[in-house]
């Protein structure tokens, strides 16, 4: 007050104003931050995948329609063809390194992963090219089921020469089916004449993982109603997953429950934390005189 009739000492600030609302932001500082952000965003151009969205946030994108090499009856051909997955595996001291790769669809229709020493590399080899290439499904249908993906031909080469898998080594393959189903689904290998079921685990809504001991072509087979798989599903700890891609929509990630705490327990724990937090915030707000109204 400035009329001279009352103490000219500044009193306590009106509740919930002076300490709550920061002073107006100097525009120059904001522009400096925006300039830095622009430089940072420019720098990310070199590290972001070519198909990256503006930011990774919100919800992952739903899968695009399945891309068939040769669509089966009743399915439509998509404008874009299916893409291969490929990786360059480094070889050091005759031992091949780990690698994984995803195809380019949203989400990827094939992904694979190999561990250290998965290949018997010839002397002098420094790198192995591994690919999973989509092909049309063979005419021969599997017993008691229908193929619901492209056939993916796996190959590993060095300088054009095929490189075999090491003894007891496997390749982890994740394949996406054309759609989700409640029927039994198995990954099956095609040797040119017959289909052989491989122990399969579901790791996403319509994503199936298998550890294959050969580089035979593989595809997803949906068994008819009532038909059971001839192979047992692997244990969840078997590691039959190629891991998640950055787009969040791949479904190729490991399934929940792979280790540790169960979903229900986790929910209860989180709920408790949130409730405690809410109570703490209410107490804090009252102590600082920041009540509503």
């Amino acid at each position: 007050m400035t009329d001279g009739t009352a103490p000219a000492v500044p009193g306590p600030a009106p509740r919930g104003t002076a300490l709550r609302r920061p002073a107006a932001t100097p525009r120059r500082r904001a522009l400096l931050v925006l300039l830095l952000a622009l430089l940072a965003l420019g720098a990310t151009v070199t590290v972001r995948p070519p198909d990256a969205p503006p930011l990774y946030d919100g919800l992952g994108f739903p899968d695009e329609p399945y891309r068939w090499v040769s669509p089966p009856a009743g399915q439509t051909r998509t404008p874009q063809p299916p893409t291969p997955a490929s990786a360059t595996i480094e070889v050091s001291g005759g031992v091949s390194g780990p690698a994984r790769a995803f195809s380019g669809e949203q989400g990827p229709q094939v992904a694979f992963a190999v561990a250290d020493g998965a290949f018997t590399a010839p002397a002098g080899t420094t790198a192995i090219e591994m690919t999973a290439v989509p092909e049309a499904v063979p005419a021969a249908a599997p017993d008691g089921g229908v193929v619901v993906s492209n056939l993916y031909r796996l190959s590993a080469t060095s300088g054009g020469t095929p490189v075999p898998l090491a003894a007891r080594a496997t390749v982890v393959v994740n394949l996406r089916a054309d759609r989700a189903t409640t029927q039994t689904v198995v990954v099956s290998a095609w040797d040119g004449t017959t289909w052989t079921q491989v122990p399969t685990r579901q790791v996403g809504t319509e994503i199936y993982a298998a550890q294959v001991p050969t580089l035979d072509p593989v595809a997803v087979v949906r068994l008819d109603q009532g038909v059971r798989a001839t192979v047992d599903a692997p244990l969840p700890s078997a590691g039959a997953s190629a891991g998640a891609g950055p787009d969040g929509g791949t479904g190729t990630g490991s399934s929940v429950g792979d280790g540790g705490i169960g979903g229900g327990t986790l929910l209860l724990t989180v709920g408790g934390i949130v409730a405690l937090l809410a109570a703490a915030l209410v107490v804090l707000r009252r102590r600082t005189g920041d009540e509503p109204g």
Binding site: A8, V33, T44, P53, P54, L55, G58, E64, G251
Partner: protein, 261 residues
């Protein structure tokens, strides 16, 4: 005379003010006498001065103590909000299960938890996005910046074709999640951090939080991009002085991802 004797104190302060005003006028600095009382009275020297000085010093001490208390509370609130953000994220992951970041239900739960947390922490700020015209203008500018690179990439190559029938529900939940994130991060958490340690700390806390809390959903490879985006959204908050602008930019950039990827 003590601080319990306000009437006398007032008279002395008024006299001191008049004297200060006269001295100022004599120095030829018009208008200075109209400044805040504290500024004028600070011309007086030490704690062993006249009673008026003691009165002012006691009040200033009380104000400083109040500021310290408020800062401590804001620090606690900042920490609690960050922990709450982590809890909401864990809940989203648990609800999503195998569907991961694509789960619409988990996204809705996440948005709800963030909004509840923001309202509990600071309901006034949570409901005050700022002057809407200015917020929208700054937000649209931010959207253009965020979408520039993917737009150029998309125009020069092929992208996937997502079914439009899935867009409305997806867009609804994406909007809810992005607005909820901004209410909490660039709204309530920003304000708490500003009160606690100032604007630069608020920028750092919200940027790092924004980058890190997407890692469990999308993997480490997105950290660099989301940190840069977080910095930009913080800059929009500073420029617009409200959470509305970052919310507009964040939401439109998320929605644009349907085509720009």
């Amino acid at each position: 005379m003590t601080v319990d004797d306000p009437g006398t104190a007032a008279a002395r302060i008024a006299a001191a003010r008049a004297a200060a005003a006269e001295a100022t006028a004599a120095r030829g600095t018009p208008g200075a006498a109209e400044g805040p009382p504290t500024t004028r009275l600070s011309l007086r020297p030490a704690a062993d001065g006249p009673p008026t000085t003691r009165l002012v010093l006691r009040t200033e001490r009380a104000e400083a103590a109040a500021r310290r208390t408020a800062r401590r509370a804001a620090g606690l609130r900042t920490g609690a909000l960050v922990v709450g953000l982590g809890g909401a994220l864990a809940a989203r992951l648990a609800v999503a299960g195998d569907q991961g970041v694509r789960s619409v239900g988990a996204g809705a739960v996440f948005a709800g938890l963030l909004v509840a947390l923001a309202l509990l922490a600071d309901w006034r700020e949570a409901l005050s996005p700022g002057r809407w015209r200015w917020q929208v203008a700054v937000g649209v500018l931010g959207t253009l910046v965020l979408c520039a690179v993917p737009l150029v990439v998309r125009l020069g190559g092929e992208g996937g074709a997502l079914p439009l029938s899935a867009f409305p529900l997806w867009a609804l939940v994406v909007t809810a999640v992005s607005v909820a994130e901004e209410v909490l991060l660039r709204g309530v958490l920003w304000n708490a951090a500003v009160t606690w340690r100032g604007e630069w700390v608020a920028l750092a806390v919200t940027t790092v939080a924004f980058g890190l809390f997407h890692v469990p959903l999308y993997g480490w490879s997105v950290l660099v991009l989301d940190l840069a985006v977080g910095l930009l959204l913080g800059g929009l908050r500073m420029l617009s002085n409200g959470w509305g602008a970052p919310a507009v930019a964040h939401t439109f950039a998320d929605l644009a991802g349907w085509w720009l990827r």
